[in-house]
Symmetry: D2
Subunit: 162 residues, 4 copies
């Protein structure tokens, strides 16, 4: 799947700071131990170290926690292309679980496929890394989940920021 670069122009020069500031207000991300690793126009990467207290009954990372990481990466990939003043909300998403999520740490990636005025279509993935993070290469890891979703720009609700 190729990205469409001509459609990935940020409409807000402060997009990187804006994503960082909004991410910092996502208390759930702090609770789960997720950090923001990279923000580019239409593409965001998050990092989650493995934690036993986030596992399901077989000791794998819970699919819902995996979803939280990828949904957040995709939401911010969408927000990175929105004009100032718009807030982002998830409309729907589908997670396809390819393999049990086990490893030392996980990478959640979100990418914009198409950015419309109201709706942004995104794809994402969760990659699992067996080795400690410093040894990982950017292309490494195993894709354990595949995500497609629809994000929405909300403009007329002043209580919703970014």
């Amino acid at each position: 799947m190729k990205l469409m670069p001509s459609r990935l122009q940020p409409r807000d020069p402060e997009f990187e700071h804006r994503v960082q500031a909004s991410f910092a207000r996502q208390v759930a991300m702090q609770t789960l131990g997720v950090t923001l690793a990279r923000v580019a126009p239409g593409e965001v990467e998050l990092t989650l170290p493995f934690r036993v207290d986030l596992t399901q009954q077989h000791g794998f990372l819970h699919a819902g926690i995996a979803t939280a990481v990828v949904d957040t990466a995709c939401g911010y990939a969408a927000l990175s292309l929105m004009e100032p003043g718009a807030a982002v909300l998830s409309v729907e998403f589908k997670m396809q679980l390819l393999a049990p999520a086990r490893g030392a740490w996980f990478q959640g990636i979100g990418r914009v496929v198409k950015a419309g005025r109201t709706l942004t279509v995104v794809t994402g993935e969760l990659r699992a890394f067996a080795a400690a993070r410093s040894e990982a290469t950017p292309d490494g890891g195993e894709m354990v989940a595949l995500f497609t979703g629809t994000m929405m720009a909300v403009r007329d609700r002043p209580e919703l920021i970014d």
Copy 2:
């Protein structure tokens, strides 16, 4: 959507205890503060009190946390109909977010639509309740998310239990 009662016969008389024991091993559920409210053949309800540390940037319950609750309810709805020895894994799911998830507490419901030998099709929902839990009626609350998914019975991997 009507359930199909004839297909909702448990194949394990110990289904309720089995779901309870497996849920107790889902450490992520304890971390999130989720409790198991009801187990019936092909139907499971979970309860999650609102917590600020599970919110996204606008103060609503994070969509990934909502997914964790409904996915777990649906997985155990599927497991409640599986024969002894089978373990349940999520293959895929879609979450449709209908309204921001705000409220005093949330109910995650999972229901089996069709239980096959290998695959079980489930639907679920997250309901939000404004008032404290004791005042809620069974039919109350607002449906804030709708879930459809596919669960799989895994039989040949002794390390996967329930």
Copy 3:
């Protein structure tokens, strides 16, 4: 899943005629032999007789044809609640195939779960009937596919009507 009647108020008194007129312009429906059986606010039913020339390799109704019927029912369920001047487009949908689609005829049902100003969330199903249509009861048939989707109201493009 219960419908929310208070949200299912048509904003166009001519909604039934409008759906009928738009359906008549869907040439694909004529090609497939689909007829419009019922239009109510937020709910539409279509009928498709079985035809060998719409089957896949095992002789069942092709899943894509099943999708065409349910997507159309859901799109018109959404349109039935839109104000005059809005056109409907499918944003995304998921089909969950429960059983091979075989039978003498099929019923595609679309229902609105939530009607927002821009987006409408819908669920649908395909039901298969073994006997000839006149003998079928309204509640009969077997649910062979389950659909959830997002429909969009498009207002600013004069070339798109209904």
Copy 4:
């Protein structure tokens, strides 16, 4: 999204002929005018010329017809990696519609992301080409729909072939 070549080994040396023979039995594909353009291990391409009699109310290719093409491409991408004797059925899929499907012809592409023993995860897309087919380049066209789905190998039902 990168394919995983090591997992894309055909288990049937006759995979190409097998896909061709099964496609020839899909009467719906003949009805819609779809042809099989390319079969490779884990990847299949189909071609559909635009036809007015397959359009929805605005004159675009109907989303259900688009689904039929991509679902078929994905099903055969999955079948191309299955051992002799297995038949393929669609379990579920999601279509994300990126742009109205208009053009002189369309290309439906299906690719295997992960081939398990029972389930195969696939992604697909529909590409639209404005110019006549002979002028198109392999990389050309516009992606108008994105598909993810789950295909199943069925082995124990002698009436289901390929």
